[in-house]
């Protein structure tokens, strides 16, 4: 009990974003080697992102004293905040649909995890940013929000920006399956 008033469980150590990008790149390269079909790779990356998201959201909430989101706009702000917190690159939130249930996260002229990436032509169907979609989906699911995410623009494929389209589906109810209560 050396430092009073400090949350002992929060790990304050930092890691450089470049290391994350390099590690992720090596991982994608390996999955591409293993699965060959870009569609399978995308599925793996989404699953991987999902696994990260469901755990990461807890860490994020532990670090930030944030109240419950009252509408989807606040959720969008939190997602934006989380990207700044973990990757240091804040996306702009915008392009809201009239109903307010769909928005875009946009990184102009960059991809938050794709700094060292060159895309070979035969892998064009591969969605390098798929992991981000999975992470947002996983994170939102843990706070009872069901979302669908599409990659609208991809900077690595010569678009002017990386744009993720986040669509609100429904609020999840705390329904436990039979035998799991």
């Amino acid at each position: 009990m050396s430092s009073k008033g400090k949350a002992p469980l929060l790990d304050a150590s930092k890691v450089n974003a470049d290391l994350i990008k390099l590690t992720y790149g090596a991982l994608v390269a390996q999955i591409v080697k293993d699965y060959e079909r870009p569609e399978d790779v995308n599925k793996q990356l989404d699953k991987l992102g999902y696994n990260i998201g469901v755990r990461l959201v807890e860490d994020f909430i532990a670090h930030h004293n944030i109240p419950r989101c009252l509408d989807f706009r606040q959720t969008a702000e939190r997602i934006q905040q989380a990207f700044r917190f973990y990757l240091g690159m804040q996306p702009s939130v915008g392009n809201w649909s009239p109903a307010g249930n769909e928005f875009s996260l946009t990184w102009e002229q960059t991809n938050p995890i794709g700094d060292f990436v060159e895309f070979p032509d035969h892998l064009r169907p591969l969605q390098y940013s798929r992991v981000l979609c999975g992470a947002i989906r996983g994170g939102c699911e843990m706070v009872q929000i069901d979302v669908t995410i599409n990659i609208a623009r991809e900077f690595l494929l010569a678009d002017s920006a990386t744009e993720l389209r986040v669509k609100f589906n429904k609020r999840l109810e705390d329904a436990l399956p039979v035998g799991e209560d």
């Binding site: 790990d11 890691v15 590690t23 699965y35 079909r37 599925k43 990260i52 990757l87």
Partner: protein, 198 residues
């Protein structure tokens, strides 16, 4: 590289964890070895989406999965990261005097860069064998298992990637080496680097 952003390390540990989860997925189903218990949500998710899972299994069957193959893949990924990382880190660094100085650099600066702490002890026999000891190795503090036996089985997955990083870093600096690691006690890890002389 003070100019680039540093974020909380938790994200990186999750990513490093995923490396082994992805590669070991099929292996866990076929062996009675250490299998991480999926979260409630994940189990629920898997139950709700059986067709998708089925398809994933299908493509996984094509993979050649034995523990050695998977670990060597993991090591290969570490190698790629080490190779590229050291190139960036040493961009404006002066030339190293000798092998020992390179090892010292790995133990201090590189380790600090990756794990936010230095290697605790560096020993050498002066004939090309170096032993790094890290008493609280970060990746080994982020998972839980049921018993001691399982701990050592699971630890292998988390220390293989760093082995690759060391080998990649050394290879970028012109040293061919073989790196092995062993979790000695809980959270402590010993890396043994044997330099290959031609």
């Amino acid at each position: 590289m003070a100019d680039t952003f540093s974020g909380p390390s938790f994200l990186y540990h999750l990513l490093a964890n995923e490396l082994s989860v992805v590669l070991f997925n099929e292996l866990d189903k076929t062996s009675d070895g250490y299998a991480p218990l999926p979260s409630l949500k994940a189990r629920k998710h898997a139950r709700n989406n059986p067709p998708e899972v089925e398809k994933l299994d299908e493509s996984m069957k094509r993979l050649n999965v034995t523990p050695d193959v998977v670990l060597s893949k993991l090591e290969g990924m570490g190698y790629q990261v080490g190779l590229r990382l050291i190139e960036r880190l040493l961009k404006d660094h002066q030339r190293f005097k000798d092998e020992l100085e390179i090892m010292k650099y790995i133990c201090t600066d590189l380790w600090k860069y990756i794990y936010d702490k230095q290697i605790d002890t560096l020993r050498t026999n002066n004939h090309g064998t170096y032993v790094f000891t890290d008493n609280t190795f970060k990746p080994l503090t982020f998972f839980s298992v049921e018993g001691v036996d399982q701990y050592y089985a699971a630890a292998a997955r988390f220390i293989t990637f760093p082995c690759g990083i060391i080998r990649g870093a050394l290879s970028a600096l012109g040293i061919r080496s073989a790196v092995s690691a062993k979790a000695t006690t809980v959270t402590a890890c010993v890396f043994e680097v044997i330099v290959e002389r031609s």
